[in-house]
């Protein structure tokens, strides 16, 4: 079980998808204005990542050995369908959340984090359980980054930001400092 725990921690903080690999930057910039929206966006991402991980494992085990060149295409189709299902479920269960997430919900399809997770799960040869923990850790990491950013931005409203840094510039610089802080976790892995 130790191995699985490491995969989880590694994907969540040491190699945080957003702050170390620059994945999922669109929602990171777009829906990190409020903490509660950020949390829900994170939850939607965790769900899609987990389902995509199961599907990718299934494809890798049963179908792709016979047609390796179809890997990218089949992964993207699976992800697009998963997102579509998630979208329909959220629309039915919580119309308010559906409106809050807006365009960023269908855009989970083109969130590089999902595809990257599916591909690196394959490249690293994770089995079913390891893949699940990897996906869950990646989702938790995305959520953590989103929520941290949203909390900072909620306070940023009251801060005096120089006029030329307003907008995206200051958000990127904050992300850089966050990323610098997350590099501190790098020591965890070699231990």
């Amino acid at each position: 079980m130790g191995n699985v725990a490491w995969i989880f921690i590694s994907a969540m903080v040491v190699n945080n998808f957003t702050l170390a690999y620059f994945l999922g930057l669109c929602p990171f910039m777009g829906v990190s204005g409020r903490v509660d929206t950020a949390l829900k966006m994170g939850a939607a991402n965790i769900f899609v990542l987990t389902v995509a991980s199961v599907c990718a494992w299934f494809l890798n085990t049963f179908i792709l050995p016979y047609a390796p060149f179809l890997r990218l295409i089949s992964f993207i189709v699976v992800i697009a369908s998963t997102v579509q299902i998630t979208e329909m479920a959220i629309k039915k269960l919580s119309p308010a959340l559906f409106r809050a997430l807006g365009i960023y919900l269908p855009l989970i399809t083109t969130n590089c984090a999902i595809l990257f997770m599916a591909i690196s799960q394959t490249n690293r040869g994770y089995n079913f359980v390891e893949g699940l923990f990897f996906a869950f850790g990646a989702g938790a990491g995305l959520t953590l980054a989103l929520v941290l950013m949203a909390s900072i931005r909620e306070d940023l409203v009251f801060a005096k930001v120089p006029a030329i840094a307003k907008g995206n510039a200051i958000v990127f610089i904050i992300a850089g400092i966050l990323s610098l802080a997350f590099m501190g976790f790098a020591g965890l892995l070699s231990a």
Partner: protein, 218 residues
């Protein structure tokens, strides 16, 4: 999207005024992840250009055949096909760069810039205009990546395209080739752009209104 544009506007719009990365904030993931050296930036830029150009061609050519309901899926499939081709080409021509870029080549599929151009432009315009637009946007993307890669390689390694330019006494800022450097570089590039825009706006404000009008007419 503006209703009426001339062909030259189609071409030049994406290069600077609506630059995909620096102005529209699209395609950020590759723009930050693989720009630690100039060579990697250029390889990524060219691969993305190839995919964007070919996908725009196909989408514009088949826009009448593609059913509206499944258009996004169709675009993604077209893009994924060309990314697979680009992946194989890079592996055959420049294996070292292919290794350095790793999974990020596959991630061209989910570059929102490419899908965005198909949905916003190629699916509504003729083939030549879609190609002009793709060329402009692709060049804009390469410029942005080149800018990022240049700043990061010079500061992080003290070299440009592998040639040392800052001398042996320069102590490289390692942080610029690590992930935080990516965020900081684009943050400061945007800062510089904002400063430039504001200065331009203030200058045109302080000028005599008539002079501006004459200048614009000329």
């Amino acid at each position: 999207m503006p209703k009426q544009t001339t062909p030259s506007q189609d071409l030049t719009r994406g290069i600077w005024r609506e630059n995909p990365v620096l102005i529209q904030m699209l395609g950020l993931c590759p723009a930050l992840a693989v720009t630690n050296t100039v060579v990697n930036s250029l390889a990524m830029g060219l691969a993305t250009f190839f995919v964007l150009f070919c996908s725009s061609l196909l989408v514009a050519a088949f826009k009448k055949v593609i059913p509206h309901e499944v258009r996004i899926t169709t675009y993604i499939l077209i893009i994924a096909t060309f990314v697979t081709i680009a992946d194989m080409l890079l592996e055959a021509i420049v294996p070292e760069v292919h290794k350095a870029l790793g999974a990020f080549i596959a991630l061209i599929v989910v570059n929102c810039m490419i899908l965005g151009r198909q949905e916003a432009f190629s699916s509504k315009n003729t083939v030549p205009r879609a190609l002009l637009d793709a060329t402009g946007t692709g060049i804009g993307f390469i410029i942005a990546l080149f800018l990022m890669g240049g700043v990061r390689e010079v500061l992080g390694y003290g070299s440009f395209l592998g040639f040392p330019i800052l001398g042996a006494n320069y102590e490289p800022w390692i942080v610029f080739i690590l992930p935080p450097g990516g965020f900081l570089t684009i943050g400061f590039i945007l800062l510089a752009l904002n400063w430039w825009e504001r200065r331009k706006a203030e200058r045109s404000k302080s000028d005599v209104p008539g002079a501006v009008a004459v200048e614009r007419a000329a």
